[in-house]
């Protein structure tokens, strides 16, 4: 199918096309935070849903689009969470003289910076892990990423206790990044996150994933998934694209972790235990059930499974048993996932001509 892009379109149309979804999406995301009252149960669930959408959609870049198999998503999430908390905790102290939450322009700026830093640190780690292991066969990547996630968790567990920011000056410079709170994690960081931040990030993740798939890079990802040897034969640097997908996914996982780490008062905090391999498995289940390669499928699976988790809280013991059975059945009966590579709107109307 040759897209309409073969004919030039006017600048205004191009701009509307690319910026309108961002504006509308961001508006909706930010608006959601204003509508839902803070501190309610609904807010907590919506927050969990948002985080899971980011995780599932980003993991889909690797597991769905590129056909690789990463099992260490929780590790990148943990890195993002800790890196961003370091920024707001110590940075907040440097800016304001205390580590509480500051809901002013400076505070928002700081939080935004911390989200980006969290994402970048995770992305850098993704590069370091991905570059060597993506040269290997698919399932080695699975075991390496799983091991990597566990390494991150264990290392965080043996880090030193969090020090008061004012005492940080007395600590040797090389020891400073090691004060990450042992197995208790960070608990006194500012609760900067809100639904507006979360859903702004969700919207940006969804749009990035969508635009990416329609781009040259995205096509390259898909070609690696479909047939690596054929992709190589037509001149696609498969290792490079695999690493790219991996780094991008790690970035978004880092952002999700950063959002997660700044949501206090809902029983979630940046503890190493929160980021064990079950968290990665949950993200994998969402991607697989939703459809490997379907953005809306992964997002929808994230929403459904998060809601189901809440609804089935009373029969928790049976929940994982039924998820596991569902996973096996889907693999046997519908191996491409419920949506396959199709999107939600492909079901609503006929396939595009």
């Amino acid at each position: 199918m040759i897209p309409a892009a073969a004919q030039p379109i006017s600048v205004t149309r191009a701009l509307t096309r690319s910026l309108l979804p961002v504006a509308v999406g961001l508006g909706l995301g930010l608006g959601l935070g204003q509508v839902v009252p803070t501190g309610t149960y609904a807010e907590k669930i919506l927050f969990d849903i948002g985080i899971n959408i980011i995780l599932a959609v980003s993991l889909n870049l690797v597991n769905g689009f590129t056909g690789q198999f990463s099992m260490g998503h929780a590790g990148f999430m943990a890195l993002g969470a800790y890196a961003s908390i370091v920024v707001t905790y110590y940075g907040g102290f440097a800016l304001f003289g205390d580590v509480g939450c500051h809901l002013n322009a400076q505070g928002y700026g700081l939080y935004f910076t911390s989200l980006v830093v969290g994402g970048l640190v995770a992305a850098a780690a993704g590069y370091l892990v991905g570059l060597p292991s993506l040269r290997l066969r698919g399932d080695y990547l699975a075991i390496v990423t799983l091991g990597f996630g566990e390494i991150i968790r264990v290392v965080l567990q043996v880090s030193y206790a969090v020090v008061e920011p004012e005492e940080m000056a007395t600590v040797d410079w090389w020891e400073r990044p090691l004060h990450l709170g042992k197995s208790l994690g960070f608990v006194h960081q500012g609760a900067y996150n809100s639904l507006s931040w979360t859903y702004a990030a969700v919207v940006l993740t969804l749009l990035c994933a969508y635009r990416l798939r329609e781009s040259t890079h995205g096509r390259a990802f898909l070609s690696v998934r479909e047939n690596e040897i054929a992709a190589e034969a037509v001149g696609i640097d498969t290792t490079r694209y695999k690493v790219n997908a991996f780094v991008l996914a790690a970035f978004f996982a880092g952002v999700a972790g950063a959002l997660f780490g700044h949501q206090l008062g809902t029983g979630t905090a940046a503890r190493p235990e929160e980021f064990n391999f079950m968290k990665s498995f949950e993200a994998i289940i969402m991607v697989v059930l939703g459809g490997m390669g379907s953005i809306s499928g992964a997002a929808l699976a994230a929403v459904t499974l998060t809601l189901l988790t809440e609804l089935l809280r009373s029969v928790q013991d049976y929940r994982m048993v039924s998820y596991a059975l569902l996973l096996i059945l889907v693999m046997i009966l519908r191996p491409e996932g419920l949506f396959g590579t199709r999107e939600l709107w492909h079901f609503l109307r006929r396939r595009r001509p």
Partner: protein, 301 residues
């Protein structure tokens, strides 16, 4: 020096358990080329089946006969479990992409863990003392009799497996299938039956490891505890280090991992030892992806 010998002994004892587990991973990987994530749960089931039988029949007095029969019963039950897993979950996916099989394996693993939790409860169980416990001191090193027995049992099983794989007809069939299952099928080898048999043998070995863990430590964690999965993952690391698909490699790798774990835990940090084992995996994959005793895999088009 005494300390060193103590860690060495402990390392051999833990390492022989890893080796038993690693054999299951390496055989399945050799034949089907996927990581059988459910293997660590079969291992867990081995411990719990024998625990359940022992508490059911109130076998609390130490006796070698009871211990042996429990070991055999657990092996038989887990062999059946392994057979059913292969038949119900993996066989329908024989022609599916490897990734799908991997995901199914994760599904089976989660299923066994969580249904195990439903059946056996959420508490750690104390494992009955099946063998009389003696501790004797050899040159200042404390040797526990159960550890010696565990190592000897593990070694005996490994020798038995080695004989099975290299000296019998079915073993030759297994090796043939692992080299190329299409050609093996053309030569008249019943490929499906051989694959089933591989699962049966691997699961029985995992069950033996599970029973030995119960006997050695006197306590077993609850079925969904992450330590079971970690045990399995480290055994897989052992299989990779030894050379995936290689039976002697898995034994060597298991021993190395056990020793490495004990020395790192003893001299550096107990908390960091898992991290160091996974780091070792990454290093081995970078430097020598085929492992110590593995064959170099050639990517066929």
């Amino acid at each position: 020096m005494t300390e060193f010998l103590q860690f060495l002994l402990k390392g051999i004892s833990v390492g022989s358990l890893y080796a038993l587990l690693a054999l299951g991973y390496t055989m399945v990987y050799g034949i089907l080329q996927f990581i059988n994530f459910a293997h660590s749960d079969v291992f867990m089931l081995g411990a719990f089946f024998s625990w359940r039988l022992a508490t059911w029949f109130k076998l609390i007095d130490p006796s070698p006969l009871v211990a042996t029969s429990l070991l055999l019963a657990a092996m038989a039950l887990c062999a059946l479990t392994g057979f059913l897993i292969e038949l119900l979950a993996y066989r329908p996916l024989r022609r599916a992409p490897r990734l799908n099989v991997l995901i199914t394996a994760i599904g089976v693993s989660l299923f066994l863990e969580n249904s195990g939790q439903l059946v056996f409860g959420k508490d750690p169980r104390s494992y009955p003392q099946l063998l009389a416990e003696h501790t004797f001191s050899v040159g200042g090193v404390n040797v526990r009799s159960v550890e010696v027995i565990a190592v000897v049992t593990a070694l005996a099983l490994m020798v038995a497996l080695h004989t099975l794989v290299y000296r019998t007809k079915i073993g030759r069939a297994m090796r043939a299938v692992s080299i190329d299952h299409k050609v093996a099928g053309l030569m008249g080898i019943p490929v499906s039956r051989v694959i089933s048999f591989t699962f049966v043998v691997g699961s029985a070995l995992a069950a033996a490891a599970g029973v030995l863990v119960g006997i050695t430590y006197g306590q077993i964690k609850q079925p969904a505890d992450s330590s079971w999965v970690l045990y399995g993952l480290k055994a897989f690391v052992a299989a990779v280090i030894g050379g995936i698909g290689s039976v002697p490699g898995a034994m060597l790798g298991g021993l190395l991992i056990g020793l490495c774990e004990q020395f790192v835990g003893g001299y550096i940090s107990t908390q960091l030892r898992d991290a160091i084992i996974f780091a070792l995996l990454i290093v081995v994959l970078l430097v020598k992806p085929s492992g110590l005793l593995g064959r170099r895999a050639i990517e066929k088009i």
